[in-house]
């Protein structure tokens, strides 16, 4: 396949960026999207140009490091995959593909397609944990049976990879899906109960301080989430928050 790529280039955080056109030829449909960019970069380097900077690491859809807004969608046109799992067979010969960074006030651009998502880490520092020291003397793992449905629902929430697609897809740049996934995981498990009140209040406070927008229940986040994190988590977090506000 031959393709036209329109890629966001931005030298540094304080520079002005712009879309730049590139032609790429002989793209195999079996390539992943990032492998296609590898080929482009290899050509650029050989020509003496600067390669396009983009984040990536595991290339199997689990580390959450890759991002990219492709043709107006976080992680591109396929569903249930990250950009590294998107394959070129989803495109046609002659296509023009727009490639931009995830855009949100809380995710400033570092270079080209690389953004700073450390706001997510800071929200987790505020309460995304159970306060248990490592001792080897905690109670036996089977001492508290947990209803399978609750355990499975907690697991589903915990599969969030922290990529930021929800924020990039949201017209308000809200991080509610991300934050609610963590709050839900602990809200559904007995281990999370003791700190439930502080957790939800502190995490939501930090989320607001980072400059993420509000949730208006549009649901784009759920559609674009590569891991299918459910909107129910947002509803659960709202209930937790309300409960905590009365208590708190």
């Amino acid at each position: 396949m031959n393709l036209t790529l329109k890629i966001w280039r931005q030298k540094g955080a304080n520079d002005k960026g712009k879309m730049v056109d590139y032609q790429i030829t002989d793209v195999s449909p079996d390539m992943s999207f990032l492998e296609m960019l590898d080929v482009l970069n290899s050509e650029l380097i050989t020509k003496g140009d600067e390669p396009v900077a983009f984040d990536h690491d595991c290339r199997e859809g689990i580390c959450g490091m890759c991002s990219l807004y492709i043709n107006g969608e976080a992680h591109g046109p396929d569903r249930g995959v990250t950009t590294c799992q998107l394959h070129m067979r989803k495109f046609k010969d002659g296509d023009t593909i727009y490639i931009e960074p995830f855009r949100a006030k809380a995710f400033p651009v570092i270079k080209d397609l690389v953004v700073d998502r450390s706001a997510f880490d800071r929200v987790q520092h505020a309460g995304g944990f159970v306060s248990v020291n490592t001792s080897g003397n905690t109670i036996d793992a089977n001492a508290i049976p947990i209803n399978k449905h609750d355990a499975d629902t907690a697991f589903d929430a915990a599969t969030c990879i922290g990529c930021g697609a929800c924020v990039a897809s949201c017209k308000n740049s809200s991080a509610m899906l991300f934050v609610s996934a963590k709050v839900s995981q602990f809200a559904l498990l007995p281990q999370g109960q003791v700190e439930a009140t502080d957790r939800v209040l502190n995490m939501v406070k930090q989320m607001d301080e980072e400059g993420f927008g509000n949730c208006t229940n549009t649901g784009a986040c759920e559609v674009e989430c590569p891991k299918g994190i459910s909107l129910e988590n947002i509803a659960r977090m709202n209930r937790e928050y309300l409960k905590a506000s009365f208590k708190g």
């Binding site: 296609m36 600067e50 690491d57 595991c58 199997e60 080897g136 793992a141 355990a151 697991f155």
Partner: protein, 665 residues
Amino acid sequence: MALDSKIPQGPLADKWTKHKNTINLVNPANKRLIDVIVVGTGLAGGSAAATLAELGYNVKAFCFQDSPRRAHSIAAQGGINAAKNYQGDGDSTYRLFYDTVKGGDYRSREANVYRLAEVSANIIDQCVAQGVPFARDYGGLLDNRSFGGVLVSRTFYAKGQTGQQLLLGAYSSMNRQIGRGKIKMYNRHEMLDVVVVDGKARGIIARNLVTGEIERHSAHAVVLGTGGYGNVFFLSTNAMGSNVTAAWKAHKRGAYFANPCYTQIHPTCIPVSGDHQSKLTLMSESLRNDGRIWVPKHKKDVEAIRNKTLKPTDLKEEERDYYLERRYPAFGNLVPRDVASRAAKERCDAGFGVNATGEAVYLDFASAIQRYGKEQAHVKGLNEDDAALVKKLGQEVVKNKYGNLFQMYEKIVDENPYETPMMIYPAVHYTMGGIWVDYNLQTTVPGLYAIGEANFSDHGANRLGASALMQGLADGYFVLPYTIGDYLANDIRTGPISTETKEFDEAENKVKDAINQLVNNNGTKPVDYFHKKLGKIMWNKCGMARNEKDLKSAIKEISELRAEFYKDVRVPGEANEFNEELAKAGRVADFLELGELFAKDALQREESAGGHFRDEYQTEEGEAMRRKEFQYVSAWEYKGEPKNAVLHKEDLIYENIEVKERSYK
């Protein structure tokens, strides 16, 4: 320097308890005066950083990714072993110890492995207390699955994302300490040297990957949890950024590198599709619980399948060769990884590979779907003879167990594995070799520790499935935090370590010189060109089977490639900016040295053991032939060029286990 493994005296089962009771402790007030650097934030580094901070040390943690949660432990799928014996099937600490030593083909250290088995149960308790959502059965208790090379069900799991859930558990413990200010986290930082002052590790030189700035960081001890070096093969299941740089720099500063040739080639990966390939994707070994591995019995069927004139599902049972079940009736499809990988290679080399490149075998779920479907129909009181219904019910069960893996396969290969068998082929996955450490996990440089995959200690020549997560967390949560205290107890009066010393000057200048050399090289070829070339040499000559001739030529070729790299590599951009090509160039430069040492190690090991298979040393049946005179750890001392590395041997003594021919028949 003679190697001292510092294994405590006394009976095997008492060593760890006795050791903990007799080593020095640092009192809580003094811990506040001590700084520890932890490099790498995977299961080993992340759990160590969190635990050291909980104890009261001041921790500085470093990772090259944009968040500690991205470390490649996250990609581990299948599970984590622990001798809990929840299934009542006869498991025990001793059995886990025994299986691990046997699985490692009698090339690991007894005392370390026993300790690993001993603390394994604590890991599960700890993780559940953190809120890790392991799979549970309908009674609400933890579920287990079985893994290759063992006869009990001791593997705890969270669907196919066990590594993710355990890493997020360690990450959450880190977050708690970051929030309290006890861990200072340095994301997007890469360690480029260890600073040794008066013979002790006292800090590191790191590059800020966003600004390109070279930074000095000091501490009373340095811990490396920087993972394995599988990417020396270019194509592996490791993440793109996984590298040997931290370990290699430590090696150059005096840490011996042990058993570099012990590499695990994982049997169930998605086959290579073309030259553009940047990495390989693993399909969890847990699939071998239900999947049956086969190739056609007859060459004519192989040809027809390759020409796409025959579908694998049309081949009758008697026309298929379930070669693992045929060769290893006792363990069948659940033989250890090295055995399964070599058996696949043997069939493909003999011309029975089922894809266009001839390097793929089938992993088939049709029998499992039938079995589960019938069971479900029976449970639900439905018609067990309704083939369509049975298939549907069976597929649902398989989907529940392996849904995410099947989805991943379909996305990559564009075939539906519920309907047609998966194609798999072995790929580089894990490195058992690593930095040599003693019982305390200390390297040959005092104050420098190595944990998790970065060290060599527990898996011998082959690692069993679901044991990497166990070792990473055992080292980080339960071993290092104790043993490091014994060393740090001597540092309570040392005070802060200054970074304004000649040792830091020297290390920083060395790092800057190396970077300047790369960015000013003005060659013609990108870094990947060299990395791919190195990978080809490694795979063809140091891969699943090795021989003297190939290894000697690999040593020569790698050394020549290294010279070409420094002559002709092109690194665009500047040193003082975000520059991924520069970071990659530094990593590949180190792989080009490690690769040669790897081949040299494989050459001197004139035996076959676990993941190291020498063509010259095999039994009549084609199995690995161990040799008593090689019952040692090879620990290499750096002396300039890899060809000058000096071999030190640590003899392995088995007092509690009888060294036997490893048999899975």
